[in-house]
């Protein structure tokens, strides 16, 4: 039986579609993602915590859901908006369909939406609060509520509560989980890193207690300014251990070093964003998922150097500390979903560690 559902925008727009997935209502920021594959990775990405994720590609669910491609254990994407949900799933790895998966995780979905129209609305008006509801009364109730309010504790929801290891034989890496994507762990594991994941609240002392060879600041949801406790930790750690920030981790690295961040109009969500490495002119197509960015002007007063830029809108995509072996990127070198063009950055991180340790050996023995 086809059930109606409504997508309600804070500007008053109400769009009728058909319901799938979880049978609950949700409220979140409506954002769009332009990837033509990778819906499973996106939905399970903690960076979408609190967001209603709309796919611009019109056919979603074609290859089903498998057990290998999740990016977190408990997806926290608020809701999913598609033009058409696949009737038939076809892929050798598929274990269930998207509808079943979203039901399992109580995430509501809506299909039959003119997603191109909605994408243009978000593009023009910017990311906005929205809701998925089952009745028109609920839609009105949402519009009358204080829809502006955003949740400041998204990272608290997404991070792990306890430290846990991902043991291996290589470098000791502490990963700070602000909403960690599993693919970051996959990349580190491929490089034999001996990983310990710490909660977002970890202090510098807690981090350094592991005597890590390097520290990785993970991606995560929401406004970097909602995670002030991390800044002091970063300021201490970067002085003594090579550091690598990804996405939210990149923004926190910038804030910790005196730069500022701002909320973008509709962000970058997709994986066709061309990024230039300024030093080499190398261009990579990168997976991106961020609604905030580092303010270019604010970097000038700091010890940070801009290393990467988005070609089209010149968003800052990478920073490096002038004094310490620390760098960060706004995009996802861990891909998934998206191109592998920038996975070399994990090697650079490990090279950084290597040369930092070599230098330290030289200086201590000198």
């Amino acid at each position: 039986m086809i059930k109606k559902r409504y997508l309600v925008l804070a500007d008053g727009g109400i769009y009728e579609g058909t319901a799938f997935g979880g049978e609950v209502n949700c409220i979140g920021e409506l954002v769009f993602n332009t990837g033509m594959t990778g819906y499973q990775e996106s939905i399970t990405d903690q960076s979408y915590n609190g967001e209603i994720l709309m796919f611009t590609y019109p056919l979603i669910g074609n290859y089903g859901i498998n057990f290998d491609d999740d990016e977190s254990v408990t997806p926290r994407t608020a809701g999913v908006v598609v033009h058409e949900l696949a009737r038939k799933v076809s892929n050798w790895r598929s274990q269930m369909n998207l509808d079943e998966f979203l039901k399992q995780h109580h995430i509501p979905g809506i299909a039959g939406i003119d997603t191109r129209e909605l994408t243009k609305i978000v593009r023009v008006q910017g990311t906005m609060k929205a809701a998925l509801v089952n009745t028109l009364e609920q839609a009105q109730a949402f519009l009358q509520s204080d829809v502006k309010k955003t949740s400041p504790d998204l990272v608290t929801q997404s991070t792990t509560q306890n430290a846990y290891p991902n043991p291996n034989s290589g470098k000791r890496i502490v990963v700070i989980d602000f909403g960690l994507k599993h693919s970051i762990l996959r990349e580190l594991a491929q490089r034999q890193c001996n990983v310990t994941v710490l909660p977002a609240t970890a202090t510098a002392q807690q981090v350094l207690n592991y005597q890590p060879d390097g520290v990785l600041l993970s991606n995560g949801p929401g406004d970097p300014k909602d995670v002030p406790t991390a800044l002091a930790m970063i300021r201490t750690v970067e002085k003594t251990v090579p550091l690598f920030g990804i996405c939210l981790g990149h923004q926190l690295f910038a804030l910790a070093n005196g730069a500022d961040t701002y909320k973008m109009k509709f962000g970058h969500r997709g994986f066709n964003h061309p990024v230039r490495e300024i030093a080499t002119n190398r261009i990579d197509f990168t997976a991106q998922n961020h609604g905030y960015a580092v303010d270019a002007a604010s970097v000038q007063q700091t010890d940070l150097l801009v290393t990467h830029q988005e070609i089209n809108d010149q968003t800052i995509e990478g920073l490096r500390h002038k004094k310490y072996p620390a760098f960060s990127v706004q995009f996802h070198p861990d891909a998934a979903p998206g191109p592998h063009d920038a996975s070399y950055l994990f090697d650079e991180f490990l090279d950084n560690i290597e040369s930092f340790q070599r230098q330290r050996r030289i200086s201590t023995h000198a």
């Binding site: 332009t34 990837g35 590609y57 290859y63 076809s90 050798w92 593009r123 997709g270 197509f285 070609i311």
Partner: protein, 1059 residues
């Protein structure tokens, strides 16, 4: 990196005539490349032998040469122009091959010319089987394992090693004869034995079979900084085993997870980097549907048919960027021409689905082998865009104009279960319709998948269409169902059929209930960035993005897919019409569905609607845009067929009025005009029953030219010599009825001529007369022709001129008109009038230098020819002689007879121009790929009626130094008349291998074969022709062509005579 300053002049090589597997896509890519290079400030020299292209227009390059694409002539162009570099990557395989020849002949080195885009080394690495295998091994990328073997034992050993199934491909056999797939050792032994037997060099290739794998394509780009990117991914509906040109293709890929997609993306980028291509490249991959195992099938180091499709599918102009990259620009410094706000370094994101379906020539070649395999057979293709697969697929199906839809084909319902199974296992061009038939018989998706290996995802989409058809039948007049059907691509005609209403009634119902299509933009970025691309497709959703304008607007209907009889010429005319409209200040809109062509480049018109060309689709756009009118006379029969229905719906047709079009096409009305004007025409009449036809036949007298009315390219046209043949034709070849009468004309033997005229109601401009080399009876599209005429008397020329002027006035022609004549005993008879642009427009425009389409468009929009500086009558002839030669694709189509007749068979044309007829003729032959030796062996087998004429020609050939081989009767006749026949050969039907051996061993350089009327001989001759063609030996089936050849050879011969 800025563009290169060290090169100034660039030679671009075109792809030559349209043949199967190399079609209009290279006109699109070549024109784009030339214009891009010009815009960057380079001096561009173009060489191409195909006059029917936009590419060979004088505006496209600084110097345009319409010359044969041979080493000899391109070298001449190089010596004259001294270019610094050559761009060989936009002219298809022809361009690459020529570049290779130029390099190997030392021409590039002698003149210090650089190859842009792809190095010779890369071309070889991609094209040479062994070098490619080596490169893949070096990169660690898998290719299907294969080995050449010469004994059954070797075949067994290798198959054992790689595992079954294996494919056996015998070397040098016609169309892969003797090959096959072996599932086990017993089968292998049998096939390999047979294959080795059949192969003239006793060699077969054993290859690991990956049939049934998913076929995936990536269009990738790379610049000199090694920046690489994917423009478009595509997934074939048909699994590996069917040529991608013959496959239904969807973009983007549909059934791959991101992990699989990225894996194949990585491979594709790795390949383009390894080949160091600067520009575009096509990578074809096979992916196991049950694992991550993949194989590289093929890499094309150039722009291709797939890249044209990818360009239209994404909006991203690959050829333009490939040219810019070739001169040193990088992806991050070229603006994205679509958004104009972003850069070219951007992987397009689609928010729609694209479906491409090939257009095959089997409606014309009904005896052809319709099985699909590794040899491409389609002449063209259509593309459709929708927001779901059902919509895109149904739009594509109706764009094909083959009279089919997915609601069942009567012919297929008659198939037995076993026949249908067979059709599903061994795909033919009608596979899609057979799948629908199987679904209709409630065969399960799993079952059909088992037989076809088509992914169940696609099969389920087709069964969804069937489900909706079911809803329609159950729920008459249900608005929700109507909406659902429209969203899934159902036409008003189909819905009306289910609801027992006319399409107009459904249209009305939609009107009342506001169920309208909206138009969405193709913008490369899924609406992420603002863009202003004037490129739209229809769908049934909420927001309409296409805004009409106050500016006076004109709509031009294109010609749809390239097919035999309706080729690239009509795209040429469409493009020129639009350009003229724009220059005159109108807002010009194009509607078309062919992804290969220049007309569907969104930068050509003010707005492009990529849509099917049916009445409903056109009316929908008319409703939105409210144009001043619609122009139909440049889009071939596709567009002209829409004239009446559009007019009936109140749409203004610009140019010749619909009533006048009908007066030209309706036999009775036309006869009346001809009689009033007292213009001679062959006796003729129209029959609506078989009996009537026989009565008419006897009245007019045989031989008769018979054909159905309203035809395209002479479809089902035949010459019959007696009652019996006429009877056979009426029963076997066609179905006659009152709606579909048959035309019968006295067949006059004589020279054929044609003219195109432009008329404005007062002035009638005739740019020139084309004189056909073959006599009437061979379709004008298949004839060689020369302009200006070489043998017509002033009296005949005057008759042609006067008749054309009279007809133009009598038919109230506004715009273009084409008239065909046969000259019989010094009298010009009118045989056909077409009140629209014809196939000859580009040829005549280029040779007479009169911009015919421009003038016609100006006339259509109300300007007067007199004011434009033209006067009535035939215009002054050109000083040069221009010969047009048709190009056939027989070697690609098994079981299609190369015998020429009233039905058109050619796929393209070339032009040879020079200061004498003989030289022009030589160039035309060279451009056709026919290199005639100055001496050698000629096999003649001539029918009785033509033996006298043949004797004269044979005598001349012997004088020129050729050796004659002839079959019994011909040899006898020639010898008796003193012509030296070197060897008599036995007919094939005498069970002698003699002819076959001569042809197979290529001992014969030319076959002259004219057909006798008895069946045995027809069979015999067909085999001889097929054999010759498969060994690339020139076959002439008309003594007129031979006569032209003799003339040409004589002009090149020297007198070798003792004193």
């Amino acid at each position: 990196m800025p563009k290169r300053q060290d090169i100034h002049k660039i030679l671009v090589i075109g792809s030559g005539p349209i043949i199967i597997s190399q079609a209009a896509e290279f006109d699109y890519s070549g024109s784009q490349a030339c214009l891009a290079l010009k815009a960057e400030g380079y001096e561009v020299v173009l060489v191409n032998s195909n006059p029917a292209t936009i590419m060979t227009d004088p505006e496209i390059a600084d110097q345009v040469y319409i010359e044969p694409l041979t080493l000899e002539f391109v070298s001449r162009v190089i010596r004259k122009e001294r270019p610094d570099a050559i761009l060989p990557t936009v002219g298809g395989q022809t361009g690459l091959n020529l570049a290779k020849q130029l390099a190997e002949a030392g021409v590039l080195k002698d003149f210090n010319i650089e190859l842009l885009g792809t190095s010779l080394h890369s071309i070889n690495q991609a094209e040479d089987r062994e070098q490619f295998k080596e490169l893949m091994q070096k990169l660690g990328e898998p290719v299907p394992k294969s080995q050449t073997v010469t004994t059954v034992k070797q075949a067994q050993a290798f198959s054992e090693k790689i595992g079954f199934p294996v494919i056996i491909r015998p070397a040098y056999t016609l169309g892969g004869t003797g090959g096959g797939i072996a599932e086990n050792m017993t089968e292998l032994t049998k096939i390999a034995e047979n294959g080795l037997d059949l192969s003239p060099i006793t060699q077969v290739l054993i290859e690991q079979s990956i049939a049934g794998f998913k076929e995936i394509e990536f269009e990738v780009m790379r610049d000199r900084n090694d920046n690489t990117m994917v423009v478009c991914s595509m997934e074939n509906f048909d699994p590996v085993g069917i040529h991608t040109g013959d496959s239904i293709v969807y973009a983007p890929v549909q059934t791959l997870s991101d992990r699989e997609y990225q894996m194949l993306r990585d491979v594709s980028l790795k390949l383009i980097s390894a080949l160091k291509i600067e520009g575009g490249c096509n990578v074809q991959l096979a992916l196991d549907p049950h694992s991550y195992q993949y194989y590289i099938i093929e890499v094309n180091p150039r722009v291709s048919r797939s890249s044209a499709l990818a360009s239209k599918a994404t909006g991203y102009p690959i050829a333009k960027l490939a040219a810019e990259i070739a001169v040193g620009l990088t992806l991050d410094e070229i603006k994205n021409p679509v958004t104009q706000t972003t850069f070219a370094a951007f992987e397009p994101a689609l928010d729609y689905v694209v479906c491409k379906i090939p257009r095959w020539p089997f409606d014309k070649f009904n005896h052809a082998d319709r099985l699909l395999g590794t040899q491409m057979k389609a002449t063209g293709e259509v593309m459709a865009i929708g927001r779901n697969i059902e919509e895109a697929t149904q739009k594509a199906v109706r764009s094909l104009e083959i009279g089919e839809n997915l609601m069942g084909s009567p012919a297929l319902t008659k198939l037995t279960e076993q026949q249908l199974t067979e059709r599903l296992v061994h795909a033919r061009d009608d596979l899609l319709f057979c799948v629908m038939e199987a679904l209709r018989r409630q065969w399960s998706v799993a079952e059909i998948h088992e037989l076809t290996k088509i992914d169940e995802f696609f099969l389920d989409k087709l069964s969804h269409i069937l489900e909706i058809e079911g809803f329609l039948q159950q729920q008459s007049n249900n608005l929700a169902t109507l909406k659902l059907a429209k969203q899934n691509g159902f036409t008003d005609v189909i819905i009306g059929k289910a609801w027992d209403q006319t399409a107009d009634e459904i249209r009305k119902l939609r009107q009342v209930n506001q169920i309208w299509p909206v138009y969405k933009m193709v913008d490369t970025c899924a609406a992420e960035f603002e863009s202003h691309t004037p490129y739209f497709y229809s769908t049934y959703e909420t927001e309409n993005e296409s805004q009409p304008s106050e500016q006076p607007t004109v709509m031009v209907i294109g010609a749809g897919p390239i097919r035999i009889g309706q080729g690239i010429e009509f795209d040429y005319a469409t493009v020129h019409c639009v350009q003229t409209l724009k220059a005159a200040g109108y807002r010009a809109i194009i509607m078309n569905n062919n992804p290969e062509t220049v007309s569907t480049d969104f930068s050509i018109s003010d707005k492009l609607y990529f849509e099917p060309l049916t009445l409903e689709d056109v009316l929908n756009v008319v409703d939105l845009e409210k144009p001043l009118g619609v122009i139909v006379q440049f889009g071939g029969q596709t567009a002209i067929n829409l004239a009446k229905p559009l007019a009936d719906h109140g749409v203004k047709i610009l140019g010749t009025a619909v009533a006048d079009v009908n007066r030209a096409e309706d036999r009775d009305q036309f006869n009346q005009i001809i009689e009033e004007l007292k213009i001679p025409q062959p006796l003729g009449d129209t029959a609506t029953t078989n009996d009537e036809a026989l009565i008419i036949g006897r009245k007019i007298g045989y031989p008769l030219l018979v054909r159905p009315s309203y035809v395209l390219g002479g479809w089902a046209m035949e010459i019959v010599h007696n009652d019996e043949e006429l009877n056979h034709y009426m029963h076997a070849a066609i179905e006659v009825s009152h709606e579909h009468p048959v035309l019968l004309d006295r067949y006059l033997v004589g020279k054929e001529c044609e003219v195109d005229a432009i008329c404005d109601g007062e002035t009638v401009v005739i740019p020139g007369i084309m004189e056909h080399i073959e006599r009437a009876g061979i379709h004008s599209g298949d004839s060689m022709a020369v302009y200006p005429p070489q043998t017509l008397s002033p009296a005949v020329i005057n008759q042609i001129e006067q008749a054309t002027i009279q007809l133009a006035h009598a038919l109230n022609c506004f715009g273009l008109m084409n008239v065909q004549f046969v000259i019989h005993h010094e009298q010009a008879y009118v045989i056909e009038v077409n009140p629209r642009a014809s196939r000859t427009v580009p040829f005549l425009s280029k040779t007479t230098k009169i911009p015919m389409t421009q003038l016609a468009t100006q006339v259509i929009m109300g300007e007067k020819l007199a004011q434009l500086g033209y006067q009535t009558g035939i215009q002054a002839p050109s000083k040069l002689v221009h010969v047009k030669a048709p190009i056939f694709s027989f070697s690609k189509l098994n079981q299609v007879d190369s015998l020429l007749g009233p039905e058109m068979k050619s796929t393209g044309e070339v032009m040879g121009s020079d200061c004498s007829f003989e030289k022009a003729l030589y160039k035309a032959f060279e451009a056709s790929g026919v290199h005639l030796p100055a001496h050698g062996n000629i096999l003649m087998t001539v029918r009785d009626a033509e033996k006298p004429q043949a004797t004269e020609l044979a005598r001349q050939l012997v004088q020129l130094g050729f050796n004659l081989f002839a079959t019994e009767g011909t040899a006898q006749y020639l010898s008796e008349r003193g012509v030296l026949v070197k060897q008599r050969v036995e007919k094939l039907s005498a069970n002698s291998p003699q002819i076959a051996r001569l042809l197979t061993e290529q001992k014969i350089q030319l076959v002259v074969n004219t057909v006798d009327d008895n069946m045995e001989s027809v069979n015999d001759d067909t085999k001889i022709r097929a054999l010759a063609i498969s060994h690339e030996i020139l076959v002439l089936t008309s003594l007129d062509t031979l006569s032209a050849v003799v003339t040409m050879l004589q002009s090149q011969a020297y007198l070798i005579q003792a004193i």
